[in-house]
Amino acid sequence: MTRLERTRRVVAGAVLVCLALAVTESTALAVPAFARKYQTSCQTCHIVFPKLNAFGEAFRLRGYRMPAETEEMVKEPPVSLGAPAYKRLWPQAVWPGAISSHTPLAVNVKLADVNTSSLNEDGTVTSVKNDLQFPQEVNVFGAGTLGDHVSYLSEITFGEGSDGSVAVELEHASIHFDSPFGPEDLFHFRLGKFAPNLADGFQEMWISTDAGIDSLFNYNPIGFNGGTGLGADAVSPNPISLPTLVRGIEAYGIIRHRALWVAGIANGVGPGSNDTTGRFDGNNAKDVYARFDYKIGGMGFDGDMGGHPIPDKNWQDNSLRLGVFAYRGDASGINFPFTTDSGLMTNIQDVHFQRTGIYASLFTGDLNVFSVYLHGSDSLQVFDAGTAALLSTGVPDYHAWFTQADYLLYPWLQAGLRYETVTPADRSVPTLKTGVANLSALIRANVKAMVEYQRDLRQGKNHSLNAVLRFAF
């Protein structure tokens, strides 16, 4: 494969990934079930939904409970599943719980007008104009608390294919145990399928676009030289990149209002679509991840203001948040088929892979600038698909980073710019550089209109312009 061919392949892959993301999952949540429970506006927790403000982040981290929550804040009192006195009777009685007095469901609907242009490997350009994806996806959420110290979140996403088929994905289904013991907010844990707190803060929390951050979540390391770029020869989202969703167990907590710690165990890479065992994990090894953040200024992770007055504008939170994170995966025994340029059919195993990164987010006035750097390395073993003979080993690495600036022009109008890059492990392939411009307007508190332009900064023939209307109820 020549350099030009590789370049074209990566470019095509990148655009395909963008398209794929536009029509598949987005883990960003906006859950009107909470607005109903507290009879409060979306703006209590969101800047431009689903982007959270500091209060919303505290609400999320505290297990969907308001900081210093009192009963009078809950406008729809829950249905008691047992008088509190039954706690004293345990184990001679069932520990009491509660459920929402209303049906804790919420719906997000996303309509998109998709326009794309992409350079093909043969040099031609494919363009799509005004593809009215009405709807592109519908998300049904269930979320709430189950009495003291227990909460839950579920999300089912429906997408309709161009052939009339309907794809259904269970994106979230998790139960959370919030401060089950010890000091308040020092220790939480949850299990199920969820967006790990590993990436929260620069993936779920910040995205106001619906296109994801490709550089961090869609890099594919499979290839002779450790991969060529985004999504090539892999399903989206790439299971070996930084995961947007995991099946696993996660513990996290807040230390003295300002520090956030996270540690998790995830199932890891699945066995692949050809597997018939019914497993979700491709091997017996588990992936592990951790994160640590510290926040200077603004509202504490638990909503504590340290005696300082809360800003009048609820999107403002003059602060600097710094974080480090790491993910270690094990995909040994899981074969990724790969055919070389000479036609040799191989299986590649990613025996170990590591992702480490740093994160920073600055809020000052109406401006929020945030950035992430990610380094990845993979221990690859290449086997002959026919004989299973080990052909080669290697530890290629890649790195990616993005920076984004969001500015609130009005309380209902946000402009955002993002620049992101991926330097693939195969250094013969040029670094992918992408620019994104986004304008998001809240037509109503729960109705968002958005225009987003994305451009491959190496090859101007790859670009997309999407108009999205999203509403939640």
């Binding site: 009078e72 599943l81 008088a83 006195a85």
Partner: protein, 202 residues
């Protein structure tokens, strides 16, 4: 003679009327507002005098119903030694038991029937008995046993009024199932209403 009788009769009538208007002679009332922070309602707080001189004999039995799957009243203050009649006003069977103090389980019985329990075994004040129903775990009520009859239960707005309190120096306290407040000293003077407010926190 008749004239004298009229005069004596009038004097006696005046004395009787004066006594009726103030049955304990110079006693008066304590009123106030209890605010329970963090709760939508300030109802069901029991405001009571911790210790009053003398001994107090319980009057007629008190009553706590189980109606529409709730204990009614939700909070029932009584003087120690009072017998409480637990009714079942629902078409479904109800049970009454308490995990507190000497603990009891009165059993389960159908609509229209009742069972009695006399609260004379607990020495401390207030002595709170949580009332639970094994058949319906969400049901909860409270019997608050006190040393004297000078108590009142707040309404939704937190207002209370304790009547017929003899003049003297007391300590006024509040009990609430979810909130607490420090007791307050209070001096009740003859024919002079006294106001004491409380703010309860979790």
């Amino acid at each position: 003679m008749f004239r004298h009788s009229v005069v004596i009769g009038s004097v006696c009538t005046a004395i009787v009327l004066a006594y009726v208007a103030s049955p304990i002679g110079a006693s008066d009332s304590i009123t106030g507002v209890v605010k329970v922070t963090g709760l939508a309602s300030s109802a069901d707080a029991v405001v009571y005098i911790q210790q009053a001189p003398g001994s107090f004999t319980p009057a007629k039995p008190a009553q706590m119903d189980q109606r529409q799957m709730q204990f009614v009243p939700h909070v029932l203050p009584i003087v120690a030694g009072t017998t409480v009649k637990f009714l079942n006003g629902d078409p479904t069977p109800h049970n009454v038991f308490s995990p507190d103090n000497e603990k009891y389980n009165l059993g389960t019985w159908p609509q229209g029937q009742s069972k009695d329990y006399t609260f004379n075994k607990c020495a401390k004040t207030p002595c709170v008995y949580t009332q639970l129903c094994r058949v319906h775990p969400e049901m909860e009520g409270y019997v608050v046993v006190l040393q004297n009859p000078f108590f009142a239960v707040t309404n939704k707005e937190g207002h209370y009024q304790i009547d017929n309190v003899p003049p003297g120096s007391y300590t006024l306290a509040v009990w609430h199932e979810k909130a607490k407040a420090q007791p307050k000293p209070v001096i009740v003077e003859a024919s002079k209403p006294t106001t004491v407010d409380f703010v309860l926190g979790r």
